[in-house]
């Protein structure tokens, strides 16, 4: 799989279709984001799989936004999984990236990873290598919904109270790009207070993620308190889907119901 991607990227670079390819590199015994600039230098290129598949993923789209803000005229290639591509579509929709300035190079996730993520679409449209897999969805959400109100209350209060307010979930999120963040607005979130206001702090973020979250799970992995944030955002996504038939980044060019006037479809 990796060789096919390498060849594809080398082609893009030598044909000068892209100014650089944003991917991952094996460096100093670690996996790091890297901008590959010529086809020859693809040694060390990796897909971010270490002990298990996808355990060394990075928010490449976030870096891509930084890059294209500095070089708006250049076209970049970027390594994407299904979730990353949903992120790209979301960022096109929210005017943070220009579609014709980005060439996604996609690969699919193995069944084991798709299942662990309960991924809606574990393969990108721009599939260069890998097989399409399917997975069961919203299993963990259904499990949570199955518990009674008191049990849910107990569970989430215990989770939210662990928060150390590191803002890691926001900082790692490829869909968080706002210059002013509600979570830093002192009228909403008291500065220097711990624990955060339960459940307001986390639900505020969940609300803001409603039409953005592409379910990449990086927030879950970045949380030092192991709060199951992904489960929370999966629920918001489920509500968006059942009430409005919208899933962030699932279809290119689809507009968010939250930015449209008129009755729900």
């Amino acid at each position: 799989m990796i060789e096919t991607i390498k060849q594809h990227v080398a082609g893009l670079l030598t044909e000068k279709k892209i100014a650089g390819f944003l991917g991952l590199i094996e460096k100093n015994g670690h996996v790091a984001p890297h901008l590959f600039k010529d086809g020859e230098s693809l040694a060390g290129f990796t897909l971010g799989d270490r002990k298990t598949a996808g355990d060394a993923r990075y928010p490449l789209n976030k870096t891509l936004v930084t890059l294209s803000r500095a070089y708006p005229e250049e076209t970049f290639g970027v390594l994407v999984r299904g979730c990353d591509e949903r992120g790209l579509y979301g960022l096109f929709r929210l005017n943070q990236l220009t579609e014709d300035r980005v060439i996604p190079v996609g690969f699919s996730c193995p069944a084991e990873l798709s299942e662990a993520c309960e991924c809606r679409k574990p393969y990108p449209d721009s599939l260069v290598a890998g097989e399409k897999t399917e997975s069961s969805q919203l299993k963990k959400v259904a499990e949570m919904d199955g518990k009674d109100l008191a049990r849910r209350f107990d569970f989430w209060t215990a989770q939210f109270v662990k928060c150390v307010k590191c803002y890691g979930c926001r900082d790692v999120c490829p869909m968080c790009f706002c210059k002013e963040c509600s979570l830093e607005c002192e009228d909403l979130v008291a500065k220097g207070d711990l624990p955060v206001e339960v459940p307001v702090f986390h639900l505020t973020r969940a609300m803001h993620m409603a039409d953005r979250c592409v379910d990449c799970g990086l927030c879950d992995e970045a949380c030092p308190s192991d709060i199951p944030l992904r489960l929370l955002y999966k629920k918001t996504a489920q509500i968006m889907d059942t009430d409005y038939g919208f899933t962030s980044g699932l279809n290119k060019n689809e507009r968010s119901p939250l930015s449209q006037m008129g009755p729900a479809k």
């Binding site: 949570m144 215990a158 109270v161 662990k162 639900l203 609300m207 929370l232």
Partner: protein, 60 residues
């Protein structure tokens, strides 16, 4: 989302009332107050305090 995190969804109500409809507004607020009285105080505050104490006793 409140429901998902275990808080009675009856505790939140959003309704549009025109500024010209004062009686309707009063009725709405009174009805909400009645609902809240029925529900009683939220267990949230006490639960957060209790969890905080638990954390102090057994640091992760």
């Amino acid at each position: 989302m409140l429901d998902f995190t275990g808080i009675e969804k009856e505790r939140l109500r959003a309704r549009w009332v025109s500024s010209a409809e004062a009686p309707e507004f009063v009725e709405e607020v009174n009805a909400f107050i009645d609902t809240l009285k029925e529900l009683g105080p939220s267990p949230l505050k006490a639960a957060v305090e209790a969890k905080k104490e638990e954390q102090k006793e057994a640091p992760a």
